[in-house]
């Protein structure tokens, strides 16, 4: 099913470009969480279930929480 692969890859590239372009750091955190989750789905399609499990719990879970906690303690705006 190469169409499914292509759609998810296109979504991943859009999420990545969006995450580094947005000027608001909270939006970057949410887009990074969405990017991690799309990666997890792509790996599950390719058959790597252990790696997908780890990325879902670590990347889309704990890593997003660390990011939001760090933004809470520093600033939320960036200049570029």
């Amino acid at each position: 099913m190469w169409i499914l692969d292509l759609i998810i890859l296109a979504l991943i590239i859009v999420c990545a470009v969006g995450a580094i372009t947005i000027k608001d750091l909270l939006g970057t955190a949410i887009l990074l969480g969405a990017y991690s989750f799309m990666m997890c789905v792509l790996w599950a399609i390719m058959g790597a279930v252990d790696v997908a499990f780890t990325e879902a719990s670590v990347g889309a879970g704990v890593s997003t929480v660390f990011f939001v906690a760090a933004i809470f303690r520093t600033t939320r705006r960036t200049r570029d």
Binding site: D50, A52, T54, V62, F66, V68, F72, R73
Partner: protein, 276 residues
């Protein structure tokens, strides 16, 4: 600066794309990456270790050294986060504590830090004037035990289904972080205090290296789980599966403690007084 970065990225990408002309076709079973070592792992995993999940058996048994040093890396990350951020005695200003009276909803602000009137009617809140959320607190209170049971299930069933030590440890840590987010940070710290977390994170690495040294004492190589059959009442194949289970438990404990340490220190800037 941006133009230079763009040129560098495009140049690097062009070199890599030129290098892909040598690759075999995607998904070919006869590609060189699939021919040398992995057929041995696929064929002999059940016969030599008794574990059907090939990824767990390679991770914890055939390549156990790498996993031990990875656990050490996680421990060092937790340690360095603690050393960078933790502040022990900061007495620059007295912030005071806030209490909410539950039946009426009034918030009281005491100017001193050491007032403690927590009981059925008074509730401690963080100093950013958190609103009162009954739904979030109740849902959190219901879900946290189930998340912990699921985390323990994932650690224990790493041999037969996707899972293992890392995933289970992160899920267990996520349950305590959920407690710290729905209630407040001081509640979570009162359930698991800092000293216990430090001891747990070192205990995980110690269990891993300890099982390896136990195999060394029983006249085998380091991390050779087959020699554990001398002290356990099972055969040598089952002893390897049990050695893998012990090692995964050590990894899970270490990962859980380090994730909680990193969250507490980042969310409160080292002072451990209030969180997200």
């Amino acid at each position: 600066m941006k133009k230079l970065a763009l040129i560098v990225a495009i140049l690097c990408g062009a070199i890599l794309i030129f290098a892909t002309s040598e690759f075999p076709e995607w998904g070919d079973p006869k590609a060189p990456a699939n021919l040398h070592v992995s057929p041995h792992y696929i064929k002999y995993s059940v016969k030599e270790t008794g574990v059907p999940n090939i990824v767990t058996s390679v991770l914890a048994d055939y390549r156990g050294f790498d996993t031990m040093f990875e656990t050490t890396v996680i421990f060092c990350a937790g340690l360095s986060c603690f050393l960078l951020l933790r502040i022990f005695n900061e007495q620059t200003e007295e912030q005071g504590v806030y209490y909410r009276h539950m039946p009426t909803g009034i918030v009281i602000h005491f100017k001193r830090d050491d007032v403690d009137i927590r009981d059925k009617d008074f509730e401690l809140i963080d100093s950013k004037l958190v609103p009162y959320d009954l739904i979030i607190k109740t849902v959190g209170r219901v879900m946290i035990p189930f998340i912990q049971i699921f985390g323990l299930y994932v650690i224990a069933h790493g041999d037969f289904s996707p899972g293992g030590g890392f995933q289970g440890g992160v899920i267990l840590a996520a349950s305590i972080i959920l407690l710290a987010i729905t209630f407040n940070l001081k509640t979570a710290i009162s359930k698991i205090n800092e000293k216990t977390l430090g001891v747990l994170s070192a205990l995980g690495v110690f269990i891993y290296a300890g099982i390896g040294c136990l195999c060394l004492l029983l006249k085998g190589h380091f991390l050779d789980y087959g020699k554990l059959a001398k002290i356990l009442p099972v055969g040598p194949i089952k002893a390897r599966a049990l050695g893998m289970l012990g090692v995964e438990i050590g990894v899970g404990i270490a990962v859980m403690a380090v994730m909680i340490i990193i969250y507490i220190n980042i969310a409160s800037e080292g002072k451990h007084h209030e969180g997200l």
